[in-house]
């Protein structure tokens, strides 16, 4: 009788696990990807903020930076690197200086496009082939 009982237990557990284990794995996978999103967004925000503040500091000495992408690249973007999150100056948009507002402001936008600029593919596991994601963060600081 005990053998029958233990057999039932094993059978029920196997049946349950065969349904729930994929769900459990999927949940863990989604959580891992969500935490990856969080890490990337924190990194992007930090990079955008650092670039915007550098842009303000350099504009103080060299206002031409507002109009020249290559100066933005060489003096600011090339110095803002976060491993596997911000690898290249190409991830930054042309910094937009709004001199008509009071105070004048600079907005920096940085993007993470999966698989480009030496960045890791995101999401890492994509069994349903949903495609690659793009994330971006912006920071706006006053120019003075």
């Amino acid at each position: 009788m005990n053998r029958v009982n233990s057999g039932m237990t094993i059978a029920e557990t196997v049946a349950f696990m065969s349904v729930m284990l994929p769900i459990l794995m999927a949940v863990i996978l989604v959580l891992a990807e969500l935490s990856h999103v969080y890490v990337i967004r924190q990194g992007l925000l930090h990079a955008a903020r650092q670039a915007a503040r550098s842009m303000v500091a350099i504009y103080d000495e060299s206002p031409i930076i507002a109009k020249n992408r290559s100066i933005q690249d060489s003096l600011v973007y090339s110095h803002v690197k976060i491993k596997d999150i911000v690898n290249s100056s190409n991830q930054f948009d042309f910094a937009s200086f709004d001199q008509s507002s009071t105070p004048a402001k600079v907005t920096v936008k940085v993007q993470y496009t999966s698989g480009q600029n030496g960045l890791a593919k995101f999401p890492i596991f994509d069994p349903l082939n949903l495609g690659s994601y793009q994330m971006s963060e912006t920071a706006t600081y006053a120019v003075y």
Partner: protein
């Protein structure tokens, strides 16, 4: 013995046998629920932390903007407005960080009476976020509050006596001669080559000045240059101190061009750092212009005219300025263009400081 019999009967009973498999379901089910719950809680915490970082970014930007308004007396009254608009230009949780956004409030405090500083600006932002899982624990919302404080440091507004070379340069004039155009000072950065055209036959960007001293002659200019070049020991207050906004007198210039063209002054010029007053527009002859700042140039080359009797152009590298300053905001010059230029060269500085040190 009696208890053992009862237990054995209970184990053999039909009802109990029916429940045996439920343990196999209960354990993985519990694990699944725990993973889901922990994951969702982690999601709430991550969301919370992300919004906090975005709010901090917005508050930092706002506080720095507010402090920057204190650099100039013409914008000091707008410090709170600068802080709010800059804060609102940033987003947190997908919403503008502004009191106009739902579930968000922003408060700005400004203090312009701080010992040793021009002033301080403190920005606090609160945002209520909706939780995903914490709702089942009756914790549906979280209010995140973030504060940032920035200070505006003492502004350089005065240069001490005998510190400047008596040659004013323009911030915006684009010099020209028969060989083409040079660059205006405002387009250059530290380390760039700066050419100063002082010949009257050129479109100039430099002119000799007696600072605030009226009715000087060639002897005054010669002595001032000798002192500034280290060829004579300085006479106290010979080249007077000047403040931002003070008018400085620009001279005819030919005597200065001749004086500099010969040794020992010509040799003394090379590889020497010259602190030069800065004005706006093409330096005029025999008129005054308000001083708007200072630049220090390390002279590398001096070009003379064909006869070799007059200096036409000075060429040097822009270097860090060793100018002594005094506290006080930049005065409102009464000229909006000059005020704008003053702000653009930002002789003051702003920085983030600990919130606890806000004295407002």
């Amino acid at each position: 013995m009696k208890i053992r019999n009862i237990s054995w009967r209970l184990l053999r009973s039909r009802n109990f046998r029916k429940q045996n498999g439920s343990v196999g379901i209960l354990i993985p089910g519990t694990i699944l629920l725990m993973v889901l719950g922990t994951g969702a809680l982690a999601g709430d915490i991550a969301h919370n932390t992300m919004v906090r970082a975005e709010l901090q970014n917005a508050c930092d930007a706002g506080a720095l903007a507010g402090a920057s308004a204190m650099i100039s007396s013409s914008t000091i009254s707008q410090a709170a407005n600068y802080a709010k608009t800059t804060c609102a230009a940033n987003k947190a949780d997908g919403e503008s960080v502004s009191s106009q956004s739902p579930n968000t409030s922003v408060t700005v405090r400004v203090n312009t009476k701080v010992a040793g500083e021009m002033g301080e600006c403190q920005v606090s932002a609160s945002h209520q976020i909706q939780n995903w899982l914490a709702k089942i624990f009756e914790h549906g919302t979280d209010t995140i509050t973030v504060t940032s404080t920035a200070a505006c440091s003492a502004t350089i507004s005065e240069v001490a006596a005998n510190s400047l070379f008596p040659l004013a340069v323009s911030i915006d004039a684009i010099p020209q001669d028969k060989n083409g155009s040079g660059k205006s000072l405002e387009t250059l950065k530290l380390g760039d080559i700066f050419q100063i055209y002082i010949n009257s036959q050129q479109v100039k960007n430099g002119g000799f000045t007696s600072m605030g001293v009226k009715n000087t002659n060639a002897n005054w200019l010669n002595q001032a240059m000798d002192q500034a070049l280290g060829l004579k020991s300085p006479e106290p207050n010979f080249i007077p101190s000047v403040k931002i906004g003070d008018p400085i007198y620009l001279d005819n210039g030919v005597s200065g061009q001749k004086t500099l063209a010969s040794d020992p002054r010509l040799s003394a010029l090379k590889d020497r750092n010259l602190a030069l007053p800065v004005v706006e527009g093409t330096p005029p002859f025999n008129q005054s212009r308000p001083i708007i700042g200072w630049v220090v140039v390390r002279i590398q080359n001096v070009s003379l005219n064909k006869s070799g009797g007059e200096v036409e152009t000075l060429t040097g590298t822009i270097v860090k300025t060793p100018i002594r300053g005094a506290k006080g905001s930049i005065p409102d010059t009464g000229d909006p263009n000059a005020n704008t230029t003053l702000q653009s060269i930002s002789p003051g500085s702003v920085r983030l400081i600990p919130n606890a040190s806000f004295a407002g």
